[in-house]
Amino acid sequence: MQFEFLLEQVVNGLVLGGYYLLIALGLSLIFSVGGIVNLAHGAFYALGAYVCVELTKQLGFAAAVVISPFAVATLGILFERFILRRFYTADPILSLLVTFGLAMVAEQAIRMIWGAAPVSTEIPQNFRGSVIVGDFLFSRYRLLILAVVAAILLGVWLLLQKTSFGRVVRAGIQRQDMVAALGIRLQPYMTAIVMLGVGMAALGGAFFAPITTVHPAMGAEVMTIAFVVVVIGGLGSFWGVVVAALLVGVVRGIAIHFEPAAGEASIYILMFLVLLVRPRGLLGERIEKFE
């Protein structure tokens, strides 16, 4: 029985990891291609949640969860063109400062528009409750999230591996100068990557709006975990981030099974151990421009 309970936590951790992945993958992509640690990433997650809550009132949850990421991705275009673009070749401390500042501006803007008190929305009735598979309990709603994440993951992987778009992006991660020498401007690709990244974060926010507190500081909350996932996974590695997100979910579940009070601390211990053994993260590639 004990073992089954543990296994149940492991499976649940995988589901949770899928959700972390939505936020961490974009963060990793933007860093890999642009060399920018986007500390404002959480703000897009929060915006995704707020826009979803707002749209749910007009159009219902299904439409809101689809439209919200696209709306936020559109904001991502402005973010990339007018802010990020100026910092690709600058001292990284400047991009840290500007995205950190932007995160604060965004949080305060949310507070001014929607107020400091949380807003709330509900899961649609047909996705409430849980399903029991074997002896494992799953939230019906989280299974839906997992399915969407899996589809998106497949889509992003195909985009990066099987299209000419992906080839340029992957080349850009390794050797920006060579890409330029071949006569390819990386900037439109970067715009697309930022849109994709913040759109995924917004989708995470939209999906989690009905099951977590939607409040102005929610972006800062999720940033910490997203950052841990990216560091554990290793930069430039698609699968590294995937594995790390799932691992973080599972380790947290196992920790809570044995020692609940250590649940939130466990992921930082995991990060510490991984970095001790593999300073580049689990599957981090050697990227010349960062060495």
């Binding site: 649940n12 840290l96 509900e122 849980s130 977590t212 507190t213 940033m223 939130e264």
Partner: protein, 414 residues
């Protein structure tokens, strides 16, 4: 292009993320001089949401007091800041008393921060009115002469809900599973809950301590189901409550969810359709008495939404402080303490008047259990709670639901 080693960039990034977790002070200052009063409450972190209501309440009280001539003919100069965490709360409290010249302090929700401010107050021999902290220990082993406690303590919340649950046959012989906030408040609440379970023949079959920054409760919900209790009991705080309530509704576990702590702000944040069960509260904006209605009207006019219980308690506390200063014609700690220790009565917008109990400085007042209105019967998004009968019942002395001197002894040094 300047090249930086990836680890340097990551390290700097981690430092930024860490710094952002500390939060940023939101500083609000009133203009004029005269009688300065310091207000601290968490505006960031897991209690930030309810803390922002507290700040609105205390500001409204200061405006009203000043509009009607202030205290002792002088306006109140209210300094209200984000207390952030226990260490910062103590630093700010010290600064307010020492540098800003505050005559007294009020506020706070976190029991951990309240404890550190209490120590600062005692050192400086200035009064501190702890408005929203509920840990019994603050009134008991940590009590001091300069600290007063306005919110109901954990034992009262447990008694209020426990009595309501007992009447529904949900206590005797039942298996309870508790989820507890992992800091002084939660530990203290669990202790009060255990005492209640012990004296009412209930079994506690499991308890989980949960970090205050946890947002995902799924692993805990799995453990609840694995234990198969009769009743699940929430001893959490702030955003934790909202997250648990929403995710409990998401998983749809069959065991009734009740709780020994809830603030109206958390209930509103959870939203209609997610919350059920029986919970305690100290005040609600639908209470039917003239003083309460006038306050709700004034607050709603000013801020466009009804007051939450922290808005009420911080408002009421500043009002009763002003009343005490005007009556004693003094802002001296010792004279005011003597006045409060006479157990002077105050109208706090409830059926019965309240008073600070002389030996532990607890504001003795009524409390209420509540259940949740079905969604289709709510007039608006704020109209969520159905208040039960006030406890203690009308004929019983108010102190019957409070911890006794034996249960929660307090030794105040003169």
């Amino acid at each position: 292009m300047i090249r930086y080693p990836r680890r340097t960039v990551l390290r700097a990034g981690a430092a930024f993320v860490g710094a952002s977790a500390l939060g940023f002070p939101a500083i609000v200052r009133a203009q004029s001089e005269k009688i300065r009063i310091g207000h601290l409450t968490p505006l960031t972190g897991f209690l930030g949401v309810i803390g922002s209501y507290a700040q609105l309440g205390v500001k409204l009280a200061a405006e009203e007091i000043n509009a009607s001539g202030g205290v002792l003919g002088k306006p109140i100069d209210l300094i209200s800041e984000d207390s952030i965490n226990p260490a910062t709360a103590a630093t700010k409290a010290q600064r307010m008393l020492e540098q800003d010249g505050a005559a007294m302090l009020l506020g706070e929700i976190s029991s951990a921060s309240s404890l550190t401010i209490m120590q600062v107050a005692e050192r400086n021999k200035k009064m501190f009115f702890s408005t929203g902290a509920r840990s019994d220990a603050l009134r008991g082993k940590n009590c001091n002469k300069y600290s007063f406690h306005c919110d109901i303590p954990n034992t009262v919340m447990v008694n209020a809900v426990g009595t309501a649950l007992s009447q529904k046959g949900m206590v005797k012989g039942k298996k309870f599973f508790t989820l507890t906030a992992d800091y002084i408040f939660g530990h203290d609440l669990l202790k009060a809950a255990k005492t209640f379970f012990g004296t009412h023949d209930a079994n506690l079959i499991g308890d989980e301590l949960i970090a205050t920054d946890a947002t995902d409760f799924s692993p805990y919900l799995l453990k609840v189901r694995q234990a198969r209790p009769d009743v699940v009991c929430c001893n959490l705080a702030g955003n934790q409550v909202t997250n648990l309530v929403k995710q409990y509704a998401e998983f749809g576990l069959p065991y009734p969810l009740v709780g020994f702590n809830l603030n109206t702000g958390d209930a509103w944040a959870a939203g209609a359709g997610n919350l059920g069960g029986t919970w305690p509260t100290v005040w609600y904006h639908t209470l039917d008495n003239p003083a309460s209605k006038a306050f709700v009207a004034a607050f709603t006019k000013e801020y466009g939404k009804p007051p939450e219980n922290h808005a009420w308690i911080d408002y009421v506390t500043l009002k009763l402080l002003a009343e005490a200063i005007n009556t004693t014609k003094s802002t001296e700690s010792n004279e005011l303490i003597a006045y409060f220790e006479k157990q002077s009565q105050f109208d706090i917008m409830k059926a019965r008047k309240a008073y600070f109990r002389s030996w532990d400085h607890q504001l003795v007042q009524e409390a209420y259990p509540f259940t949740v209105k079905p969604k289709d019967q709510m007039k608006d998004q704020w109209d969520m709670l159905v208040l039960g009968e006030a406890v203690p019942a009308a004929g019983d002395p108010l102190e019957t639901i409070y911890p006794t001197r034996q249960q929660n002894p307090c030794e105040m040094k003169a």
